[in-house]
Amino acid sequence: MSVGFLLIHAKPHRTSAMLLSWALFVTGIAAYLYIAAARHRDNAEERVTPTIAQMARGMYDAALKPAEDDEATSTDGSLLQRFRNSMLWKDTKATSRRFIISMVLLIPAVLLGLHMGLFPYIGAFFLRFVLFFDKIVALSLLPILFIAFGIDELAKIMLIVIGVTPTIILDTFNLTRAVPSEQLVKAFTLGAGDFDAAYRVVLKQILPRVLNSIRLNLKSVMLFLFAGEMIASTDGLAFRIALLRRHMGMDVIIPYVLWVALLLFLVDFGMRVLNRKLHPWFQES
């Protein structure tokens, strides 16, 4: 039988494509369950591969029991109230706050990239510096940042800024330069000034691609955020994961990792929906 059906011209049926897309998830979960069961058979105190029941209990405690520092808080109250007093909620809130500040700080990065791409003197002034900055491994700056800015929020935010903004600036710069010059000439012939051309023509055209670029960099934002939280923080999802590592708390670490992945997936999904709503023309092309 020819194997041609597996090659470029293959047209997988919708059902088979769906089954294939879930196959690795199912395999991974099955392999984990098998290994966990085997290890628990050998050692009842096994903590590296918690069972599903152990993880569910760990997550229940994290999501519905008061945080360690709030032991005095009543365990009564509605589910929502209990969740809002929980360790998971407090950690999520702390990480989200840092994440939102980091995302807001990307706005000036986008504007800088836009101006660098459009205004030659601004480009000449910043480009070499940003290119150099982009090559610095942000994590290697971590000790310097903690010395310079202390171990407060500022150092963590700066780590994200240094780690991600050069990429966003350069992406925006390249996207700006890729706008056909005819579009700018056309805008000027229609009466646009320099800033009209920048904001009403170029920014509007590149914005969906910039949002996609930010989406692709979400993981980097989280990476730097987690690095900062793990090293110097008293709250946050990464702080908790680092803390639980010391106690081999895999029953909470694994659900926490999945929770972070879910949150990131939701942010990515939200940005995708927003992009589609704000820029219906982009979907057309």
Binding site: E182, K186, T189, G191, Y199, K204, S285
Partner: protein, 268 residues
């Protein structure tokens, strides 16, 4: 005074310099429909960009109504071959972009006057939409949803709504199929008659030039190393009847073994 005066203009690119245009001098009067004709690489589009102000000559100067313009502005409308519309704007928004951007600053969008004026502009845009043969239902479409011919129609309306004194069109119909192209030629002639706008139209298609223009300027290189010169400057009868076109085509295309110093044909 000529509306467009191209005075002894030369252009060269690269290092070592490669001549593109060599001491071109032309005068274009208000209301003319001028086609610039020539083979690929002869500098037709360069000449257009010089008039547009998006490129500067090595020597010489270009005057629009006696004034030098160093960058594109709304005195000269522009319809390129590609990327003629803003992809993020609907047909209607593309057409109203010019008046909106001229009348309202970025913050001007926040004023009530903007919304009142916007309603008027949209009515005007619908008028243009009808004139270029599009339906009202097309107003909300994005350029990507339109055919090439429809996109160029919208681009013409977009340029004309700002009432420029000069409309510069760079191979604007080159990417269209013959049927659509013919329709567009009729449309632009009709709009030229109705508005009286001076049009400079770059093309490499002799038939198209003769069908459209009241004057055809042929650019050609005397040799590959030299820049283009004005090979022929021909007044075309207006209206130009179909049966005259083959004769004029022959006249325009009989350029073999040509020497600029001796074969320059003045406008007839």
């Amino acid at each position: 005074m000529a509306l467009i005066a191209i005075d002894d203009v030369s252009v060269a690119y690269g290092t070592p310099a490669r001549a593109v245009l060599d001491q071109i001098s032309l005068q274009i009067e208000e209301g003319q429909f001028v086609c610039v004709l020539g083979q690929t690489g002869c500098g037709k589009s360069t000449l257009l960009r010089l008039v547009l102000g998006s490129e500067k000559p090595l020597h010489g100067k270009i005057l629009i109504d006696g004034v030098e313009h160093h960058q594109p502005d709304r005195t000269r409308g522009y319809v390129p071959q590609k990327y003629s519309l803003f992809p993020d704007k609907t047909v209607l928004d593309n057409i109203t972009f010019g008046p909106e951007v001229s009348e309202f600053s970025l913050l001007g969008h926040l004023t009530p006057r903007y919304y009142r004026r916007r309603r008027e502009l949209r009515q005007e845009a619908f008028d243009y939409l009808r004139r270029i043969g599009l339906r009202e239902a097309d107003a909300g479409k994005y350029p990507e949803q339109l055919s090439g011919g429809m996109q160029q129609r919208v681009a013409i309306a977009q340029a004309l709504i700002t009432k420029p004194r000069i409309l510069l069109m760079d191979e604007a119909f080159s990417a269209l199929d013959p049927g659509t192209r013919r329709g567009m030629q009729d449309l632009i002639r009709e709009l030229w008659r109705a508005t009286g706008t001076t049009i400079v139209f770059v093309t490499h298609n002799t038939q198209e030039a003769l069908r459209l223009a009241t004057r055809v300027i042929v650019l050609a290189k005397p040799s590959p190393e030299l820049g283009s010169l004005v090979k022929l400057d021909l007044a075309v009868p207006d209206p130009c009847f179909e049966e005259e076109i083959p004769h004029l085509v022959q006249k325009l295309e009989s350029g073999a073994g040509w020497h600029p110093a001796t074969d320059y044909l003045p406008a007839v």
